[in-house]
Symmetry: C2
Subunit: 250 residues, 2 copies
């Protein structure tokens, strides 16, 4: 019998459901904790709020099917990179967008903007599609032991996506670009923005928008990559360059 | 009418079907060239044999539904990295294995070994599963403009997979490892072998096998990654370190 064992799962708690040293999981998360993990009062568990808070709790009560926990310890920004990585990706087909979220969230992306580029052949994603991607992102935050939910949005042009990009290093994938290297002074920037074209790549006017916006064009090698593989590759290389091994513990 | 335009597709040709300056596509590839792309005698097309040959051809005849081409130019090792990257991955669930092939082939993996690790909870993959993965790999070679078909195999233990690994740099992903950096002398090695555990990670005896085999343990950061995301990340970082921008043209 392992009823009081801490579940090897992180639960989601809405920020508004944390009050002082107590929190309440919603009905779905409560059911998961109480039914699937058979928690009872006294069982330890952890919850994240997607705004940087990780709450180490003990289950206090389970009335009306809602799990209420006492917060014993709070961690800030567990599993978050020091630098923010924003990803602007030309909208690919729906399955590729979902798969990209599943890879990019554990790899630390702080924002994913699915951009309706000239060659996307699709308008910006609507609320239903974005909601679905946000649910996947939430699941990725829990599974990967992050604590911040990335922003998910869909811009209706590359120009409007670039206008919203934060100051800092800016890189765009392009077969004609140079070698992908992150300089030491770039690794110290608070934000890195990465741009990857849709299937078919950026148009020439879009390449002009990127270069006008201070994006350095970099090549990912001699092969034709899908938007999804290119995005994960660029994110993985930048993440690795930005990792500071003194700053995390598992 | 664009009937004589070169299809933006690479076709597959079995090495035995190339003779002198002529080649014959198999029935399926022929149908694709003749029906989908509406090629007729005189249409240029290109084919790869998966053994390093890329054949720039002109369609000569289409009798009995078989496309026969005249080879006008042969390229060797187009789209191949100078160094070979071998990937040993603890067997994940079937969908993740397929998705990994779809990412890893365009990124230049020369070998994928799906290893029945202690925590895989699965035996080595049988011939039907491997055949399915090989078909995906072939498709990836064509789409990504590579010319060599990676080796796909499934070892029944990590020890037997490690025994087959080529000399050269050896890295294994482990949360307790050090920083992932490829040294200049490592980037010059002819082969790099990367090991990634199954869901749940390597067991302690397996970590012993890796360290005994000269694998350096490296960490991919503070987050829990799936085997698939970890494998693509490690491959992407190594690929980028090994790229020599003087050696390719697109």
């Amino acid at each position: 019998v392992a009823e009081a064992r801490r579940p090897d799962t992180t639960f989601w708690v809405e920020p508004g459901a944390v009050r002082g040293d107590g929190l309440t999981l919603d009905r779905e998360e409560s059911r998961h904790l109480l039914r699937v993990h058979r928690a009872h009062p006294g069982t330890p568990f952890e919850a994240v709020d997607g705004e940087g808070g990780t709450f180490h709790c003990v289950l206090e009560s389970a009335e009306d099917g809602l799990a209420r926990g006492r917060v014993e310890r709070v961690e800030r920004d567990r599993g978050e990179l020091r630098a923010t990585i924003h990803l602007l990706v030309g909208i690919p087909e729906p399955g590729a967008a979902e798969s990209l979220v599943e890879h990019a969230v554990p790899l630390g992306a702080g924002l994913l903007d699915f951009v309706a580029c000239e060659r996307s052949g699709r308008p910006a994603l609507g609320p239903a599609r974005l909601d679905r991607l946000i649910r996947l992102a939430r699941s990725g935050v829990k599974q990967s032991k992050r604590s911040r939910l990335p922003v998910l949005r869909s811009s209706d042009s590359l120009a409007s996506a670039v206008a919203l990009a934060p100051p800092g290093t800016r890189l765009a994938a392009d077969p004609g670009g140079g070698r992908l290297e992150i300089e030491a002074n770039e690794a110290g920037q608070p934000a890195v923005t990465l741009a990857i074209g849709p299937p078919g790549g950026f148009s020439d006017p879009e390449l002009g928008v990127l270069q006008g916006g201070g994006f350095r064009l970099i090549s990912l090698g001699p092969n034709r990559l899908t938007s999804q593989t290119a995005a994960v590759t660029l994110l993985a290389v930048c993440r690795n360059a930005l990792l500071d091994h003194r700053l995390w513990s598992i």
